[in-house]
């Protein structure tokens, strides 16, 4: 029973792997959204789009 289930699961995983390679899917891909046209067309619009960002806090 478990063998049959694993046959399905394993086959599915291989298919997902091939499909991911075929479609260019990546695990843990960063955020993605649409930029409203008014933001794109207004001067300095990108800055307001990124207003939430607090900057990098790395380094030593």
């Amino acid at each position: 029973m478990l063998s049959k289930l694993y046959k399905v699961i394993g086959g599915g995983l291989l298919l997902v792997y091939v499909a991911a390679a075929w479609q260019g899917w990546e695990v843990g891909s960063p955020r993605r959204q649409f930029l409203p046209p008014d933001v794109r067309n207004s001067p300095g619009g990108y800055r307001s789009f990124h207003f939430w960002h607090s900057g990098y806090r790395g380094g030593k």
Binding site: L2, G10, L13, G24, E26, P30
Partner: protein, 680 residues
């Protein structure tokens, strides 16, 4: 052949020696054994009539063995200490040799007289022990003693190549070797005789067609012919040619069978588990249809507790006897194997290249019997039973010793025997399907030879891993495509100047400007700059890798990027922190990070994209300004996806491995030995 005809010394009837080298002939009229000597014929005494043993062979049958023609000229029936008789046929070969063709329980052993290099090489009867090897008899692998005992010359017919003495008891030892090799030592003569050969099939003897003709007219003993001497009820013998003991289905009495005559022995009470498959039921195994003719409950005792199991005796005239064993709801189909094919060591045995580990060594006792048996079974009969396992199979060795239970009870006839059998695990549902029964008890523990049910997972795991490696290898062949690369040098804020700026105005007048104060951020080496790239093309259904390389050295540069689809406004954000630190600590140098960082992004819809890059830095302590090389590639094989696949594929096998460890632990919990073969 030189034919000799003469009158029987006992009755005067004509007896004929058709073979020139036969020694005795049995008179067809008075059953006297007539021997020819140099001077005259000699009467050696009378033998009983041969009983019909159901043998497919007959006197006069001809065959060819290894290219040499032969004819069966005679037969003797010998009584075994445990009851019953076996047939020994004598084959006169065209080259003058005699072959001894022994037949027992449907198996045939053809042997020829073997001259030993020295008589001292034949071991004395007393020194033989069943189960031990006899290396002095020439063979590729030493013969193993499978049985030693005493045989009673009961009956005979035809021409026989030795001086047969009626009712004589003589000692013998049977030995088995590798690949069906077989040997017998006959201690009936002053100088023991050695016969070697092997187990043969009727087809190998070239007499199978004639054998079939005899099988077409089987002898049947009907229920009407037999009735129980205890209760008078009718009973039927399903293997009349072999049955030595039978129980009455009406009153349960155990009866002794002797040439069709029944004798009451004792009443029996059922012990242990009930009988799940009825006597007379039929089922098919390995293409052969067997009938259940006997049922037996046996037990072993450990620390004062008896453990029972059931055995069903199966019979198929063309094949012989097999067993169906049920223990704690587990079933096994058991067939005999030649002891010579089993190589035993201290804790393991090997059979046909497979190693079996010892599981149990105990005295097995018969507790109850029902139906027919081919030996004189008794309640209380005890044998040493040793089980070796290699799931789904179990090799069992049974060593028995019998004294004075043959046809001449009390005559001191004895035998010791070792039997090996191979049991193969059967799922309960298969037994139910085979015998058309329902609701057989389900097992609750792990049987010694029960195969681990999920072992097929490992086969699939290996296949999946192989497939993953092949697919991953093919994908890694693809070359990444670079779609964008540019170097950006950003401008850091000017530092505070100590020299005041002096501006010369028209007319020669000068104005001294105040010295501008540096911003706190610039003073700290911090800054950021936003850059927009030129548009570039990105293809759909291909992943992306964005790489940033910067001239960091004990500081960092952070690139916050957006890929912006010019047509749709889709924004794919990404971050690339590039930092590299190094130094020495306690005399040891260390480093952390590097000058390059990348990020993988799922495929974007194909189209024209620009990038917005906001480059940030801090504590910029180098003479050169911050410089970042940004590269965008597509179609990049990523190892982490492959590793994730391998991990995901291994999760179920890992779970199965844990279950197998638990399964094996439960299996060996019921053994007196541990998995290493030592007593626990």
């Amino acid at each position: 052949m030189a034919t000799l005809q003469a009158g029987c010394p006992a009755c005067g009837a004509q007896v004929t020696f058709r073979s020139g080298s036969s020694v005795v002939v049995v008179c067809e009229y008075c059953n006297s054994v007539v021997a020819r000597t140099d001077r005259a014929l000699e009467d050696l005494g009378k033998v009983s009539d041969v009983v019909d043993s159901g043998s497919p062979l007959d006197i006069g049958m001809r065959g060819v063995y290894e290219g040499m023609a032969f004819e069966l000229t005679g037969r003797a029936q010998l009584g075994h200490a445990a009851g019953g008789v076996w047939d020994e046929w004598y084959a006169a070969f065209a080259d003058g040799r005699w072959g001894w063709l022994a037949e027992a329980q449907g198996r045939f052993y053809l042997t020829f007289r073997t001259e030993m290099p020295g008589q001292s090489l034949v071991p004395p009867y007393e020194s033989l022990e069943v189960g031990t090897s006899v290396p002095s008899i020439p063979a590729p692998m030493p013969f193993v003693v499978t049985e030693k005992g005493e045989a009673l010359m009961v009956a005979a017919e035809g021409e026989i190549p030795y001086r047969l003495i009626p009712n004589e008891i003589y000692r013998y030892a049977d030995l088995a070797g590798l690949n069906r090799a077989f040997a017998t030592i006959d201690y009936g003569e002053q100088m023991p005789l050695v016969f070697t050969g092997r187990e043969v099939g009727l087809t190998e003897l070239g007499i199978v067609d004639m054998a079939h003709r005899r099988e077409r007219a089987p002898r049947v003993v009907s229920a009407a012919q037999l009735s129980c001497p205890n209760c008078g009820g009718p009973l039927e013998l399903r293997a009349p040619d072999h049955t030595e003991r039978v129980t009455c289905p009406n009153c349960g009495s155990l009866l002794d069978v002797n040439r069709g005559q029944l004798r009451f022995l004792k009443a029996l009470e059922p012990v242990g588990y009930p009988q799940d498959i009825k006597l007379g039921a039929e089922g098919e195994f390995d293409g052969q249809r067997y009938t259940v003719i006997g049922f037996m409950t046996r037990s072993v005792e450990f620390e004062g507790v008896k453990y029972f199991w059931q055995e069903y005796l199966l019979y198929q005239p063309a094949v012989g006897f097999r067993w169906l064993v049920q223990s704690d709801g587990h079933w096994s189909f058991v067939e005999p194997v030649s002891p010579g094919d089993v190589q035993a060591s201290e804790k393991t045995v090997s059979y046909k290249g497979k190693t079996f580990r010892i599981f149990q060594d105990a005295a097995a006792r018969v507790e109850y019997v029902a139906g027919e048996f081919y030996w004189k079974v008794e309640v209380g009969e005890t044998v040493r039973a040793v089980d070796y396992v290699s799931p789904p199979q179990m090799l069992s060795m049974e060593v028995s010793g019998v004294v004075g239970r043959g046809k001449r009870q009390g005559a001191g006839q004895e035998s010791q025997e070792v039997n090996w059998s191979l049991g193969t695990y059967l799922p309960v549902k298969e037994v139910e399907r085979t015998f058309q029964v329902k609701n057989l008890p389900r097992p609750t523990n792990v049987a010694p030879n029960q195969p681990f049910p999920h072992r097929g997972v490992y086969k699939y795991w290996a296949l999946f891993m192989l497939a993953a490696v092949v697919i991953g290898g093919l994908l890694s062949i693809q070359r990444p495509t670079k779609v964008f690369e540019q170097t950006f040098t950003v401008q850091t804020a000017p530092a505070a100047s100590a020299t005041p700026n002096v501006i010369t105005l028209p007319g020669g007048r000068t104005v001294t400007l105040p010295v501008p104060a540096a911003t706190p951020a610039a003073a700290a080496g911090e800054g950021s700059q936003v850059i927009f790239t030129e548009p570039f093309e990105i293809k759909g259904n291909r992943n992306l890798r964005v790489t940033a390389r910067a001239n960091v050295d004990n500081n960092w540069i952070f690139v916050e990027g957006d890929l912006i689809n010019e047509a749709t406004g889709l924004v794919q954000a990404f971050d690339l922190p590039v930092e590299y630190y190094h130094g020495t600590d306690g005399g040891e140098s260390w480093s952390e990070g590097g000058g390059e960082e990348d990020v993988y992004i799922s495929a974007l819809p194909g189209g024209t994209y620009t990038m917005r890059l906001e480059v940030q830095w801090e504590k910029w302590n180098q003479a050169a300004p911050p410089m970042v090389i940004v590269r965008v590639e597509q179609n990049v094989a990523r190892g982490v996806n492959f590793l994730l696949l391998l991990c995901a594929l291994s999760l179920v096998p890992l779970y199965v491995l844990i279950k197998k460890i638990s399964f094996e632990s439960r299996r060996w919990a019921d053994s007196e030995f541990n998995a290493a073969g030592t007593k626990s």
